[in-house]
Assembly symmetry: none
Homo-oligomer: 233 residues x 2
């Protein structure tokens, strides 16, 4: 069974032929896929694309996949994203090294595309289960942009001021676009659950956020009996 969200895969290899092939097949399988042929741009690209899975070639000219893996593991925004290595060598030594540096799986060339897709699916699934959605810095849904770094909300390009609680609430909803968030879940993640807060409080804050969203108030959809979710309008 699929989750509602399209899973995103970043493929890094300095051979465009390989990335294209992978991209084609992964997109056939229903994933969103981004190719990157320049490993030097890895961090920027990964932070920007916010992948759910990264596939790295071990052998690249500028930077090896092993190094990229260690860089990712050290980066707070990327450290939890699962990684699959592509290796032409298939030697035991390489495999051990890869797994030690934090990879979650590896595949030796020549590999079957089918196998790669299957392994990707498994890793993403496992990761999605154990993990809350990664913390994103900037999210856009239908003309509404929320930017954590700038601590600002843009509605059709216009700056709208949210209070701290409203901001956390909207950000959480937008981060998990399409997925229903129960009131309890929102209380735990937006408020600090140690305090006893009425679930109806969530409703009030949703209302306040909707007011500020103006014409886009439908961005937050009510799911009767459960909670709320953010949707494309």
């Amino acid at each position: 069974m699929h989750t509602l969200k399209t899973q995103r895969i970043l493929v890094v290899d300095d051979e465009p032929d390989v990335t294209e092939l992978l991209k084609y097949n992964l997109e056939q399988a229903g994933y969103r896929c981004q190719e990157l042929n320049d490993p030097l741009l890895f961090v920027s690209a990964a932070r920007d694309f916010q992948p759910d899975l990264m596939i790295l070639d071990i052998m690249m000219a500028e930077l090896s996949g092993l190094q990229l893996c260690r860089i990712a593991r050290a980066d707070p925004l990327l450290k939890d994203v699962p990684i699959i290595f592509l290796t032409a060598k298939g030697e035991v030594e390489d495999r051990v090294q890869g797994l030690e540096s934090g990879a979650d799986d590896y595949i030796s060339k020549p590999f079957s595309i089918k196998e790669l897709v299957l392994r990707s699916g498994k890793l993403i699934e496992r990761h999605a289960k154990q993990e809350d959605a990664p913390r994103l810095q900037r999210i856009e849904i239908s003309g509404v942009v929320i930017d954590e770094e700038l601590h600002q909300l843009l509605v059709d390009g216009e700056n709208v001021v949210l209070t701290a609680t409203e901001f956390r609430l909207l950000k959480l909803l937008m981060e998990r676009k399409g997925r229903v968030q129960s009131r309890e879940h929102l209380l735990v993640n937006v408020w600090n659950y140690d305090t006893d807060i009425e679930t109806r409080t969530v409703d009030t804050h949703v209302r306040r956020v909707r007011e500020k969203l103006g014409a886009h108030s439908r961005l937050i959809e009510t799911v009767r009996g459960v909670g709320y979710r953010a949707v494309d309008i």
Copy 2:
């Protein structure tokens, strides 16, 4: 003669002894200095610290300085920051390689601290002159001009006198226009965080600056619960 702005230097070497030594001497010379002993954290650290100069050791275990340099040159936020290499080898080949990959200077170990400081100063100066990059010498926002070289603030063309602290505060806010600066961040970057200073002190200084900005006092916007930021009015 020194400009009033404290120039910021990021030192990356996996030997803490070296970074500490450099930090000490560079800070004696009036720079603000951040050590980083783990090259894997390079991108995050550099983006966060926003240095005016980076000093990279060529020989490091996880990632070489050459690789860091190429990564920096590929990162939109870091590509204009000048780089000095530390190299123990001093071989011609290394030097050529370093300069080719985008370094602005190199120094061979064992090096004289004095020489390093001098070269740092030159590079920063050159960089500041030619650049309209992230850190400017002269910044204007809606009729308010702050010029660090002249140590002067113009409000609608009229000269307004700021104290040193006020100047650093306003300049930092204007440099990072639009981005919220937390009280803690301001304390670290405007004050020298050695002394324990109350966060409310920031408020008082903001108030003093606002007074001097007169009709433009709204240039500094309060972000409740977080800090302040400079905005277009």
